[in-house]
Symmetry: C2
Amino acid sequence: MTTQATTPSHPLLDAHAATLDEAAEALRTRSFYSRYPASPSPRVYGEGSAEAGQSAYEARLGAAFTELDDQPTTGERVGDEVSPYGPTLGITYPVLDLDEALPAARAAVRAWRDAGPRVRAAVCVEIIDRLNTRSFEMAGAVMHTSGQPFVMSFQAGGPEAQDRALEAVTAALVEQERLPSSVIWEKPAKGEPLRLQKDYKVVGRGVGLVIGCNTFPTWNAYPGIFASLATANAVVVKPHPRAILPLAITVAVCREVLAEAGFDKALVQLAADRDGGTLAKDLAERDEIAIIDYTGGPAFGAWLETEAAARGKLVYTEKAGVNTIVVDSTDSLRSTLGNLAFSLSLYSGQMCTAPQNIYVPKTGIDTDEGHLSADEFADRLGAAVARFNGDDAKAVEILGATVNDRVRSNVASLAEIAAEGEGRVVLDTRPVTHPSWPDAVVRTPGIVQLDVRHEDVYTQEYFGPVSFVIATESTEQSLAQLADTVAEHGAMTAAVYSTSEAVLEEAREAAADGGVALSENLNGQVFVNQTSAFSDYHGTGANPAANAAYSDAAFVANRFRVITSRRHV
Amino acid sequence: MTTQATTPSHPLLDAHAATLDEAAEALRTRSFYSRYPASPSPRVYGEGSAEAGQSAYEARLGAAFTELDDQPTTGERVGDEVSPYGPTLGITYPVLDLDEALPAARAAVRAWRDAGPRVRAAVCVEIIDRLNTRSFEMAGAVMHTSGQPFVMSFQAGGPEAQDRALEAVTAALVEQERLPSSVIWEKPAKGEPLRLQKDYKVVGRGVGLVIGCNTFPTWNAYPGIFASLATANAVVVKPHPRAILPLAITVAVCREVLAEAGFDKALVQLAADRDGGTLAKDLAERDEIAIIDYTGGPAFGAWLETEAAARGKLVYTEKAGVNTIVVDSTDSLRSTLGNLAFSLSLYSGQMCTAPQNIYVPKTGIDTDEGHLSADEFADRLGAAVARFNGDDAKAVEILGATVNDRVRSNVASLAEIAAEGEGRVVLDTRPVTHPSWPDAVVRTPGIVQLDVRHEDVYTQEYFGPVSFVIATESTEQSLAQLADTVAEHGAMTAAVYSTSEAVLEEAREAAADGGVALSENLNGQVFVNQTSAFSDYHGTGANPAANAAYSDAAFVANRFRVITSRRHV
């Protein structure tokens, strides 16, 4: 006999009950679900909302970000953000006083813990709903920190990030509610049965640290923030020093809603750092930090996976990899090339999910336009990418701006890379002048062709608009390379193009062996670099690119523990 | 729209469908459930089964254990087991050739992975059912490796371990089946909706290593073995060198059933080591090992939690702690003392769940027999324990035998411990001569009383029949000590005795703060050292004694990953 959960009452419970129920059902079925509309149309978000958001963003420039001045602070301020589109943001943020902030975070969790899973989930939904109303302001913040084009900044920085946040909240709630809050346990025994009441209490781990990245400041931070918060932890958000604003706005909204809901603002705090600072490491070494979510470069990610993990912290990472496509054959060459051209161009390949390595057999591929040699396929792909980016004004709305010097350096060294791999530059990169932002460094994708034997070249990650057409002995070898290079070097995505069901089946086995999700024959408006919350996992946790996936049970289940109390009744 | 899982067919699916369903329901409700009867009565297990099991055990003595000779082996044999009851077992086991065995384990997982979660679960149930038929043989093996008394060896080594195994299988199945095997995803779009079929495939991590302990060779190993196996991993079982036989029998049964079910025996292999060998560490350092389950001493446990975790391995540990009882008041003194006497005596306190530290306020406690000072309570407890173990022949059936020299040394140094803590020996230990096993070293529990300020003494774990009555300033201080010492030094169990609802509520908060399960006012036939599968978690994972709990979602969810493949339909 299971007694009903005695959920503490809270005004937000009713407000968000239906949302939590439909989100849980969506997570269970993994069919299409989105709470937050991706279209920036005024018909969806209301007339004037785009302009109001833009104004709100612009009002922040050159000024102190004051909404977080009630955090414990050392009194210093930091802020080095420069838009990849050119302008200096000139915004300063208070420096967090860790010796006050972390104990405050720990002290705040008791009431949050005692509120129970459903109240926490409802408060999180309220936060995310509130963030949704700020999506246009957020679009400006994301665009001018990441270099994403505007529409992408709105979508990936706003509603799509919000959907991933809701997914994490939902996964956390489902996992916490899998156990009853109380049960009467009755064991048959000689004479009277043994009867115990057992109460189960969810407790968090302590304080979660979320370390954000430069390219997707909100999208990659929200799953960790909301997974930790929903499971009764406090959260310290450490943004990338060049992408603070999106998470500063986020933290301010979190604190505003938490306070309104009767909880301590110290449950969510922002730890802004100067460029080149060591705050992420300093925080990761603190005893109060029990959970770390990280998106960023492999060096610090590896440090977290070894040193922080060795200190007993739960570490969830997303680092880097070599995303892979195997081309075997296609019955729709034009669509295949168009789909690939978009995937290679979107945000200048600066997505952790963008393809890099495209394997093609030297014997060539069969297509609906006849047999193509590997060279011919490479040339056709190069032409498709060039055509796709032929109009500067349109191209910049897909390419966005290059985010940093490493990306610019990668794309500028195509000829050297080709020489190192004894290959050829199939498509050279082209500088594009942004019509609105003349200081933005915009480059079209470059493609290098080389032989499969030059693994030392193409198994490195060239972040940004650099990809390889790699000539293999056969599709069999292409698939073996997919499995092997992904297992060794990691990947967030993989794809295959083939008209053969046998090849597709082998590709599924190769993807399972390598531990990467597989997209098959994407020829339309779905792209390998895009995943859908509640349906596609982002990452698998099964290869070195990421040790976790948004948002499976493993992403949430260990962020909380269960404490039982039992007594005779 | 979710399509139905296309579970591969297998003859064992139907056989165990009802069991898996009722076990899943039991896990969901956490009410009483047991598949394997704990009573060794011939009415339950059949006339002659006890004698047949005893004979099967005796037939193994002084001989080579040959059922595992088909494992890859170096040709050497090991086996140093000596019964805590006296006799040398004289059994030898083949030494595993790791360079052959680990690749074989990895090769075996593909078919096991492709069989799907439900087939794996059904095969696991078949294994556990088969183990149940060997429970009397196992009782002999557990008794003569751990020193447990016979009935406990049967129960904890047999059916109760089997119930924990089934619990792990069930938790793993539920978690894997939370996602559909396939879904049609349909996103509204201009014109035709976007439609994708997405298939989700569960893949294991690779090879799990399970490192067994001396005192509960099966009970503490089964959760890890079956959690890893059920989630598509292979398992290498590394028993404690002094408790190999119970896991050798287990592995032999696993392999027998796996082969009958059409799978590769290499999915489960035994890695027997000589006493003092380094095989556990050697295995933990191997690249093939992805998951480690460990029960044992804190030194190697800490190495695993740091060094092995730093190498990216999932590490689940149970080490040591100081189990704590807070006595505030009781309305049934006699029952309280009787319950505590049993908990302190059972298996000579050699359970990881046995109480060690009993806090009593110096101002004394109110009881139904009047107010007792802390000294009087300690004396009454000592008398109860002495009386409980007054009859040698009966006492040995509860005490069992001391398992090793460390336990013997702890219990022999009561006077020194008392002197170090400026306290007094409340109850000295007494050697007991076992009527059937004259070479067994059997000691009754000893109790030391000291002041709360001697934390350096009582926050060490004295494994075996040593406990402390610790005089505090108040129950408030007792509860603070509970929370603080558990959070710092760990504990598997905690209990409180109080007639005050306010004190009980404070105790629940202290237990939640310390991260330990709480038993309240146990006065009957439920004991603080006992947990019930499917209802009580064993450990919490929230304090240093153990980083995991049998068997919550976190214990199983990260042992597998999900690989998606998606395509237009």
